[in-house]
């Protein structure tokens, strides 16, 4: 009888196996991050001796020394620099993406198909091939060692993926609201800002979050454009610290790495939903 009834018990068994595998993989995934955070609170000798991530003698030594950094600036300075890059970048991206997307979604533009194809091409285009000429161009403008090359292009909707995301969102909106606004006397820009933008807010938030994350992680762009240490964002400062610091002050570097990741981590936990929807709406509907 028990063989015939195994179907009754199989669901429970398979669920247990699943959970086991999921938890196992999850732990492996998180371990490097946990180790990073834990080690940030250890003193240096402990980092080298123990494997566990919970410090025996938690200490803020790593944070204190790391914050001071071995340069003339504290870590706070680098964090502020990062914000000076990321915030303009996000704002420019959002504004230009929404405007351009509205043009594609609602206007009968001559050559629309061509421009849209070019837009999609920028999504797939490997950016590495543009890097060197862009560098020369910005050198020509005299923009080297400024933050301008990092965010000015964003004002021109160069990130096709974001425009695409917003276009998809707009296309799924029924036009009635906008037509009603036109009848009420709005011009297209008013319709966009007063009627459409509030409704597509989730998509806008997704774009902003993604661009924020990507910009926080951006490394090669600041690397080639910024030469004065005083202008370094966190990504360059961290790299500098592993070049400069003696091999043994790991806890400082790990502490600063943890701090560097903190804004992204917090934002991610708070706004997960938008990250997931942003990535999937491009893929499944696209």
């Amino acid at each position: 009888m028990s063989m015939a009834n195994w179907r009754k018990y199989w669901p429970a068994v398979s669920v247990t196996l699943r959970y086991g595998a999921l938890i196992g993989v999850g732990f492996l995934m998180l371990y490097p991050l946990l180790w990073m955070v834990g080690s940030a609170f250890k003193n240096n000798s402990e980092i080298f001796s123990t494997v566990g991530f919970i410090p025996h003698d938690p200490t803020l030594e790593g944070f204190r020394n790391g914050w001071k950094t071995s340069t003339e600036y504290t870590f706070a300075h680098y964090l502020v620099n990062t914000m000076k890059i990321v915030i303009p970048k996000v704002i420019c991206t959002v504004i230009s993406s929404v405007i351009v997307a509205y043009g594609f979604a609602r206007f009968a533009i001559p050559g629309r198909k061509l421009w849209f194809a070019l837009l999609m091409a920028t999504v797939l285009l490997p950016k590495s091939v543009l890097l060197l000429p862009q560098y020369l161009m910005f050198r020509q403008f005299g923009w080297l060692d400024t933050y301008l090359p990092l965010y000015v292009p964003q004002a021109f909707a160069v990130e096709g993926f974001f425009v695409f995301l917003i276009i998809q969102f707009m296309r799924s909106l029924p036009r009635d609201m906008e037509e009603a606004a036109v009848m009420d006397g709005c011009n297209s820009f008013q319709v966009l800002t007063l009627v459409v933008a509030p409704v597509i807010l989730p998509a806008i938030i997704s774009v902003a979050l993604f661009q924020f994350m990507w910009s926080m992680n951006d490394f090669i762009q600041p690397l080639i454009y910024l030469s004065s240490v005083g202008k370094y964002p966190v990504s360059l400062a961290l790299k500098m610290s592993i070049d400069v610091t003696e091999a043994t002050s790991w806890n400082e570097i790990l502490a600063m790495s943890a701090i560097a990741l903190a804004p992204s981590l917090i934002l991610f936990f708070v706004a997960q939903k938008y990250f997931v929807e942003g990535v999937t709406s491009g893929a499944v509907k696209g």
Binding site: A4, N5, W6, R7, K8
Partner: protein
């Protein structure tokens, strides 16, 4: 003794703590087309899924063609199912869709081809064999879903609301086709629907479900003429049976007399076992009410609303003396009746129904 194809023995099903099927026992005989009917949430689809093996009962037993299949795998029960959404494999042609189960079984390619061709022929799908589901109309997809079931030659066919995704005109057509199919194949079928017209026209036997329990089982006309309780009385028949609150005046072995605000009415009913003064419900179908001839005992009332459909007319009448009650009367299409008219409505007492305080039917008549 006729062969029992499907037997459910005190089956219950709970999801989480919530009991959805509350003890159902049922026999389905070989060759019958049994319809499970009931309102949304009554458990009819759940019951079908238990028979199919897509879920297993919490308690109770299920036998198909004599074998205990309570926990058997869906493909090992001798059942085939037509899903409400058809569940056609979108990336396979009609031919592959129909033949999929046979391929899994490992039949020879030539044999599969022959069986699929035969099923396609019965359902007039032969010119569509190489098409993909997305290139088919709703009615065609449904026939493919049926073909997929036929080709497996199961002991029992299961239909899960197969017509609810079709538009009204197509529904009528497909209903006729399903009836014809059942007549020619003679296979045992269990059919789930919320539409009582489908139930009445297709079923050899109807199972009325409500809140996870069987309210009544019987042939369509049985349920129409002798509903076992208020629920079945209200569910079967369109428009709904009129229900008036009355009290029992007297009952002897051969008749029952009920008291209403408009006087008493005597109904020939045997076996009425209620106490005098008890609150009862009087059931009168709209098609059993007519405008009274002068000498007939009748209910008087005022017409509130008239709906003319051409072939028939429905009048909504407020009977005098009853608070907040309304009677629907079915009249001939040409009848001149208008709102505000005063009318006298009469009925054949043998066609009246009587229900006790608990809703159960009281007594019987021969009508």
């Amino acid at each position: 003794m006729t062969k029992i194809s499907v037997r459910l023995n005190d089956v219950t099903k709970s999801f989480g703590g919530h009991e959805v099927i509350k003890g159902v026992s049922l026999d389905v005989e070989h060759g019958e087309l049994v319809v499970f009917v009931g309102p949304s949430g009554c458990g009819k689809s759940t019951l079908l899924r238990l028979i199919a093996g897509l879920d297993t009962p919490t308690t109770g037993a299920l036998h198909i063609a004599g074998k205990d299949v309570t926990y058997a795998h869906p493909s090992k029960r001798g059942v085939a199912m037509v899903f409400q959404s058809y569940a056609l494999y979108p990336h396979m042609t009609v031919e592959d869709n129909i033949g999929f189960a046979l391929k899994i079984k490992g039949l020879a390619k030539s044999e599969i081809k022959a069986k699929v061709a035969r099923a396609a022929d019965i359902l007039q799908l032969t010119p569509l064999l190489k098409r993909l589901p997305k290139a088919l109309s709703g009615g065609q997809r449904q026939r493919v879903a049926i073909g997929r079931a036929i080709v497996r030659e199961p002991d029992v066919f299961l239909f899960d609301e197969p017509l609810s995704n079709l538009d009204a005109s197509l529904r009528g057509q497909m209903r006729v086709e399903i009836a014809r199919l059942h007549a020619s194949l003679g296979a045992t079928s269990i059919y789930v629907t919320h539409d009582q017209v489908e139930a009445m026209t297709l079923a050899s036997k109807i199972v009325v479900l409500n809140g996870g329990r069987i309210e009544q089982v019987g042939a369509p006309l049985d349920l129409y003429r002798n509903p076992a309780n208020l629920f079945v009385a209200g569910f079967i028949g369109s428009p709904r049976m009129n229900i008036l609150p009355v009290t029992l005046e007297a009952a002897d072995g051969a008749s029952a007399t009920v008291a209403t605000p408009q006087g008493t009415f005597s109904l020939p009913r045997t076996g009425v076992t209620a106490a005098q003064g008890e609150n009862l419900s009087l059931g009168l179908r709209p098609e059993h009410l007519h405008l009274a001839q002068d000498d007939e005992p009748a209910l008087t009332g005022q017409v509130l609303l008239v709906e003319r459909l051409g072939g028939e007319t429905f009048a909504y009448v407020a009977p005098d003396g009853f608070e907040n009650q309304q009677l629907i009367v079915r009249l001939d299409g040409d009848h001149a009746v208008a709102p505000q008219d005063r009318v006298r409505l009469s009925f054949d007492p043998r066609r009246a129904h009587l229900f006790g305080e608990d809703g159960a039917a009281l007594g019987r008549t021969e009508a």
